[in-house]
């Protein structure tokens, strides 16, 4: 046993940068090959339970709104007297509590405390339902049915809160707790690293494959001026500066201090294994209007933040591999359109 610890302890230095002791020296993977990928995997940690938490947040707000606006209907569903003023008042208060839980969950990256507070709320609801069961005037069947439903949601709440409690605190999570949205997307482009880097370095070409950009104008070696399309036919503008530029490796940038909007990003280029071209990885962070809550509400109506980045990367791949973005009759316009010609050209 002592031996294996000893071998493990000097595995990096003692094996010339190679990992692992199970494999013979000739077949061991190289540390410099696997370590960057382990880093990527580690950076992706900390998001467990996010989808369930978002669902519960939305559920809280929906139920809360129903309790506040239609207290009579919800009272009847719970089997208690919908005409009693006191009942309706309590129902409205419970509704406001639900809404506050929902908002708290949606505005935090790791809404562990908010979900535990939902569990506490469930306990209160169950206590009230138990009291309602004791009153012979109430509709016992309805109350029992409501209780079963609350129990089911409680189980989900507990499960979600436990999952969230187990999440490691990562850099990404801390950023997001400050209200910054951070998104990561990647694609493999069938071109060499120098070609892809050179294409990317020429920012003025971006509007060719980024559909939300109107123009990019290079001011000098480090600075450029960006104009992007915004909702309702408006546009937003900002100046960006390059923070770091390592040819064929990475470019990172951020909007200059005092810009209309904050955004920052890094793109990394890496040779894909076995002649597969270039792995392009983009990390983008921005400060959405109304913070995380705003972006989650926007997600209900539009697309998730990473979708735009992914679309842009797919278009980059098409432009680099084929020379143009591929259109179908339906996709040449935004939104759903029938797959039939309409006599119009592509709308970029």
């Amino acid at each position: 046993m002592g031996t294996s610890i000893e071998v493990g302890a000097d595995r990096v230095s003692g094996n010339g940068g190679r990992l692992g002791t199970a494999l013979g020296p000739r077949v061991r993977p190289k540390a410099e090959v696997t370590a960057p990928y382990q880093q990527l995997a580690d950076d992706d940690r900390g998001t467990g339970g996010e989808k369930l938490a978002n669902f519960l947040g939305m559920f809280s707000i929906g139920l809360g709104l129903a309790q506040v606006t239609l207290p009579g209907v919800i009272s009847r569903l719970c089997g208690v007297d919908p005409k009693d003023d006191r009942t309706r008042r309590v129902m409205r208060l419970l509704g406001m509590r639900e809404i506050s839980h929902g908002l708290a969950i949606l505005s935090n990256q790791q809404p562990e405390k908010a979900v535990w507070s939902r569990v506490a709320g469930d306990a209160l609801d169950l206590a009230l339902l138990a009291r309602a069961l004791g009153n012979p005037d109430n509709d016992r069947g309805a109350t029992l049915f409501a209780t079963a439903n609350v129990l089911a949601v409680t189980a989900l709440d507990v499960m979600c809160a436990q999952t969230l409690s187990r999440q490691p605190k990562t850099v990404a999570n801390e950023k997001m707790d400050e209200g910054i949205i951070r998104t990561k997307r990647s694609i493999t482009v069938g071109r060499s690293v120098d070609e892809v880097y050179a294409f990317w370095r020429n920012f003025e070409q971006f509007p060719q494959f980024m559909r939300h950009l109107e123009s990019v104008t290079v001011i000098d070696e480090r600075r450029s001026h960006w104009v992007a399309k915004a909702p309702a036919g408006k546009s937003v503008e900002w100046d960006a500066e390059i923070l770091e530029d390592r040819p064929n490796e990475l470019i990172s940038w951020r909007s200059v201090e005092g810009s209309q909007i904050y955004n920052a990003g890094t793109v990394r280029f890496q040779r894909a294994p076995g002649n597969r071209g270039t792995e392009v990885r983009v990390e983008l962070e921005y400060d959405p209007p109304f913070g995380k809550l705003g972006s989650k509400v926007a997600m209900l109506f539009r697309e998730e933040p990473g979708q735009q980045v992914m679309d842009d990367l797919r278009h980059l791949k098409q432009v680099m591999e084929l020379g143009e973005i591929v259109f179908s009759d339906a996709s040449k316009q935004r939104g759903m359109h029938p797959a039939a010609p309409d006599g119009k050209g592509p709308e970029l």
Partner: protein, 390 residues
Amino acid sequence: MKATCWMGMQKMEVKEVPDPQILNQSDCIIRITSTAICGSDLHLYNGFLPLMEPGDIMGHEFMGEVVEVGRNVKKLKTGDRVVVPFPIACGHCAACESEMYSLCQNSNPNAHIAEKMMGHSSAGMFGYSHLTGGFAGGQAEYARVPFADVGPLKVPEGMTDEQVLFLSDILPTGYMGAEMCGIKPGDTVAVWGAGPVGQFAIASAYLLGAEKVIAIDRFDYRLRMAKERAGAVTINYAEVDSVIDVLKDLTAGRGPDHCIDAVGLEGHTHGVMYVHDRAKQFLRIQPDRPIALREAILACANGGTVSVIGVYAGLIDKFPMNAVMNRSLTIKTGQCHVHRYMKPLLERIQKGEIDPTFVITHRLPLDQAAMGYKIFNDKQDNCEKIVLKA
């Protein structure tokens, strides 16, 4: 131009729509001379594939004459007669370079939607829902064909439309189904479904050296075609209690060495399992009825291959993974990489090794496409394959 449009479940209409135009510089526009209704079009007709939009132009088996080419098109010119493969492939991505054309990485503009449903996206396809890109199909007078230098195959002089039309889909699909089996001398192959793709799978299994091929269906006229034209031994599953037992009988207990599912998500059978699957599909608990697939797996000989060319669109239940794992079965499947097979199969047609016209039972003008769908779907009038003439 006139085009066959999907207007809702079991509602097809031939409508007047604007003519297609060049959208990308590698496109061509073709004037369609012949097109066909595919069995997989019936899945759209019956509403089993998601993401259709009223007004979508149907059709992915078509051919015609080039009338316009984009600036970057080099190999085709106006006046060329071509047949068009149904998957849209760019010819330059890693998938195309390894001849997996139906997995082209660049041709599906709606890849993000497909990714949500399937993990990763497949290629764009003509007239086959917005999940495969929202490309207008070819059951029309004209069609826009992207990547004109990659897909369309020039038709040699002297060959008729009907001789080459099925190179667009069903002949290569049936052929790939047989090829995926890795047939060795003496092998017995069983094919579920004696529709047009099943017929071509049977014929292809013989082309690739199968000793005997067994066809399974419930329509006598289809089984008759399989027996008389493609040379299969036939089983009408509606007339036997257990197809698996009959297959054991025919192979002295071994089971067929390879099984091909040319049925897909709308399988039929008799008995409790069918009612169970049908009910689940109706309730949208299970989008697909994998009846043929289950039977193919259970029937297949130990160590054999189950080749799936029937279309699946969603999730399936009661998948006998125990049989697959414990009996060392290999499952091979995929939307056909048509581009890979067009030239070799064209040569086989020219040499007289196979005559694909044998499946055609109906020829209709494009105007009557809606009626064609009904006849084909309801298996009226011994319908096997409908060709539409524009």
